[in-house]
């Protein structure tokens, strides 16, 4: 009961705040100012989403098989070394990665996608690898004991049971990815970073906000999409969200 009342107060305060913000926004013509950049926002948002989808997609397509491969017994010897070097890779700031990939591939969309890919690869590989290794041994023994081949075991037992952990990795990766995309503008990759950085440079707060607000919304949206996918795709029996 008490908790319910508190949330009600919370909602009430939130409403008042939003109302006040609305009044303030109206006074300073924020909405009109923002809509001034509508065309740019639409074009750049599409570009922004493209960058996320392409780089994220490629990262998943490389990361999951790579993590799987490293978790196989025959790679056990090099797996830990590989994971360590990938770990060191993450300590490099994403901006530095972008700068490095620009010096390698020049400016434009290609180096941006490449840099974003590298930045979001690690969580996917790491979670796939540990997720698969954490599948209990007795499940593997039961699976091989009833006559599954290594491949059948991977697809029917190991991957489904590791899927929740893999999805957690993808979620982290996408959070990093969406957060880094605005920086892609700096190496000519386009995206909503263009409005943000130009807005800062020209001391145009509304231009900056016109880039920042959709960027924030996209980040939240991406997170929700992944959460929904995890809810739907991870098998019911091993999905903590569906108890």
């Amino acid at each position: 009961m008490k908790k319910l009342r508190l949330t009600r107060y919370g909602y009430g305060i939130g409403l008042v705040l939003m109302f006040t913000l609305g009044i303030l926004a109206e006074q300073y013509d924020v909405v009109d100012e923002l809509f001034f950049y509508q065309e740019d926002v639409v074009y750049l948002t599409v570009q922004h989403i493209e960058l996320v989808l392409i780089s994220g997609g490629i990262a998943i397509l490389i990361g999951v098989p790579l993590g799987t491969l490293l978790s196989r017994p025959r790679f056990a010897r090099i797996a830990e070394t590989a994971m360590q070097s990938l770990n060191i890779g993450t300590t490099i700031p994403t901006l530095a990665i972008l700068a490095l990939s620009m010096s390698l591939l020049g400016i434009g969309m290609l180096p941006a996608v490449f840099g974003l890919c590298i930045a979001s690869l690690l969580p996917i590989v790491r979670n796939t690898y540990t997720g698969l290794l954490e599948v209990p041994d007795h499940l593997k023994e039961a699976a091989s004991g009833i006559g599954m081949t290594a491949q059948q075991m991977l697809y029917r037992i190991e991957l489904p049971n590791a899927l929740y952990v893999i999805f957690a990795g993808i979620r982290t990766a996408l959070a990093i990815n969406v957060g880094t995309v605005p920086l892609a503008f700096l190496i000519g990759g386009g995206g909503l970073g263009e409005l943000i950085f130009t807005g800062i440079d020209l001391d145009e707060p509304f231009m900056m906000l016109a880039g920042a607000i959709p960027t924030a919304m996209l980040a939240i949206l991406a997170d929700i999409v992944i959460a929904v996918l995890a809810f739907l795709i991870v098998p019911k029996g091993v999905n903590p969200l569906r108890t």
């Binding site: 499940l139 039961a142 699976a143 009833i146 059948q152 098998p235």
Partner: protein, 386 residues
């Protein structure tokens, strides 16, 4: 039938080679349960797992139904052997139905066939299909999960089953229940089963034969009764326990020690009762039956001596009865409970068929030991004679 021929496993460890199983030879006849028993690290699990090659043998051969499995493809071999492990190992990502249908699916059965099979097997292990088919393993209790584990192992109707401490993780009460259900099932299915356990009571209950392991060697391979009556050496003797004679109680049925019994009817006089008590040498009382020959009570010697009248007016109620198929453990327990030295035995209709006495039980169990003692003495006697 499972036949093991010189099966050996040597593990290479940093401290040098360790022999986990040393030239094991044994044969489990078709339709029997063989329990591999011993302390941890004795090689029983290694031996079991070499049969389906979860642990590849260093040398030796395994025959299943007369066929040498050495040449068989590992996957094919395993699909023809049911496998149950202590941790159960149900796949949490699959429903109970899918878990049971795993092997049939691998064998390429069509969906109607394996669905029907899953339903049939759930009924066999006493779980309601309408409730459990669509559930996930985490929604089941440990006992229910292991029932499903057994059902999964039986799915493709393999002739042979390997069970690695299958009931080890289940609480004692449920374990008894599942063991009983499993034995009942086995009476119909007649699988050839190898079963690893470290619990002598479980072994005596489940096994047709028990194999005792120690330090990678097979020490003794016998029927439970022979094992308990004639342990081969000190190790086996200490392993089966000081109460080994009591453990044999479970192996003997009332019918084996039942003896005829004299009775009186309610219409008989107490004098007749006393006469019969004297005649048959009963020390304390005589049983009374009704017209249908069902035991209803007993007339005590002291009453018969001091009172006159009909038995029907001076009898005490019956304390307990047994049936010929009960094991002696239950009977002994009943006797202790009711402070009595004998119990009447009745068939399903409650008709008296005989009685079982404490003396009869001790005599039956003691007979094998006396024979042993005689055998042990005879060479000595020969020496004296010479």
């Amino acid at each position: 039938m499972i036949k093991i021929d010189n099966l050996t496993k040597i593990f290479e460890t940093p401290n040098g080679p360790v022999t986990a199983a040393d030239h094991i030879n044994m044969e489990v006849p078709e339709g029997e349960i063989c329990v591999l028993l011993g302390p941890s690290g004795c090689g029983k699990t290694t031996t079991l797992k070499m049969i389906n090659r979860i642990i590849p043998p260093s040398s030796g051969r395994v025959f299943i139904n007369g066929e040498d499995t050495t040449g068989l493809n590992t996957v094919e071999l395993r699909r023809n052997i049911g496998y149950v492990i202590q941790q159960i190992g149900l796949f949490p990502n699959m429903t109970i139905e899918e878990n049971i249908a795993v092997v049939p699916k691998l064998l390429g059965w069509d969906s109607n066939r394996y669905k029907a099979r899953a339903k049939e097997l759930l009924e066999l292990v006493a779980l309601d299909p309408s409730v459990f088919l669509k559930r996930y393993p985490r929604e089941l209790s440990g006992g229910q999960q292991q029932r499903v584990g057994v059902a999964r192992a039986l799915a493709a109707d393999p002739p042979v089953m390997l069970m690695d401490e299958p009931f080890g993780a289940i609480d004692p009460i449920n374990r008894e229940v599942i063991q009983d259900e499993f034995l009942k099932m086995q009476q119909e299915l007649r699988k050839t089963i190898m079963f690893v356990s470290h619990d002598i009571d479980e072994a005596v209950k489940m096994a047709n034969r028990i194999a005792i392991f120690r330090g990678g060697r097979l020490v003794q391979y016998d029927t439970p009764d022979d094992l308990l009556a004639h342990p081969k050496d000190d190790f086996v003797e200490s392993f089966v326990g000081d109460d080994r004679a009591l453990k044999r109680l479970r192996l003997v049925q009332v019918s084996q020690v039942m003896e005829p019994v004299a009775v009186v009817k309610p219409s008989d006089s107490l004098q007749t009762a006393l006469a019969r008590i004297e005649e048959h040498g009963y020390s304390r009382a005589i049983l009374m039956v009704n017209e249908k020959h069902q035991p209803i009570g007993y007339v005590s010697r002291s009453v018969a001596q001091t009172t006159k009248g009909l038995c029907g007016d001076h009898y005490f109620g019956l304390k307990a009865t047994t049936s010929p198929s009960d094991d002696l453990r239950k009977v002994a327990s009943l006797m202790f409970n009711h402070d009595t030295t004998w119990l009447p035995c009745t068939d399903e209709q409650g008709v008296l068929v005989g009685r079982v006495t404490q003396q009869g039980i001790t005599h039956y169990l003691g007979a094998t030991y006396q024979r042993d003692a005689l055998n042990a003495q005879s060479p000595h006697l020969h020496q004296v004679n010479a």
